[in-house]
Amino acid sequence: MKIKDLKELLDADVLCCEENLGRHLYSACGCDLMSDVLAYVKDQGALLTGLVNPQVVRTAVMMDLVCIVFVRSKLPTEDIVELAKENGIVVLTTDKRLYEACGILYSNGLGVKATK
């Protein structure tokens, strides 16, 4: 699916890098523990998280992820959005909870395993 599809499925707002909504997603992971995220290499994926700090963006940069979704209506600070913008990462917020958001994406075909 494309980031645009994820945005619609989660009824999410775009905070930056709207021009990259056409990018493809091949995997996703839902996690608040960045050290766990770093243990899996899946590029071109989305990270869904309830954790809000700049390390979320740096983790996404290291992993070559293309999209971050903050769940439960969490709003990242401006410096967090700015950091994502510098790195071309789409930032979204949704009012859905992590479990629900992941479930919706999974049932719509966004796999756990990279399918490239």
Binding site: S35, A39, Q55, R58, T59, V61
Partner: protein, 141 residues
């Protein structure tokens, strides 16, 4: 053999929020140089984990990244508390991180095992009360 290209960074140990900036810089530099995405990802993840470790466990230190023709060497040196039992520290899930660090998304005890997995060679030189130097080598194939 030509001289390696060297990148040096001082890692501020007081500031968790800015931790990881050196790794972001390295990633940008390696992209500019045109290394393969796979090598760049391995270097940046390994270095990021090490950089975070220096900030959360050792109050900062220095990072030197050396680019040779056939490999990249990352040397992370700190004057922190040292690691008393390396074998234990290398186990997945072993962590002495505080609850505060955990609430910030780290402290799962995955960093050192990750660093080992993403590098071709890793050595830890540590003395309790003196400091720790972690050296990682990633081959460019």
């Amino acid at each position: 053999m030509s001289e390696p290209l060297v990148f040096h960074y001082d890692i501020d140990g007081e500031d968790f929020i800015s931790a990881g900036q050196a790794s972001i810089q390295i990633k940008k530099n390696l992209r500019r140089i045109g290394l393969s995405p796979e090598v760049i990802r391995r270097v940046s993840i390994a270095m990021y984990e090490g950089e975070i470790n220096m900030v959360i466990h050792a109050k900062g230190g220095t990072a030197d990244v050396m680019l040779y023709e056939d490999r990249i060497e990352i040397i992370l040196a700190d004057k922190g508390p040292g690691i008393s039992n390396i074998e234990e520290a290398m186990q997945e899930g072993f962590s002495t991180a505080s609850d505060t660090i955990r609430s910030l998304g780290f402290g799962a005890g995955m960093g050192l095992p990750n660093m080992k997995r993403y590098s071709d060679k890793m050595t830890i030189d540590t003395t309790v009360g003196v400091g720790t130097t972690v050296t990682m080598v990633i081959n460019i194939t």
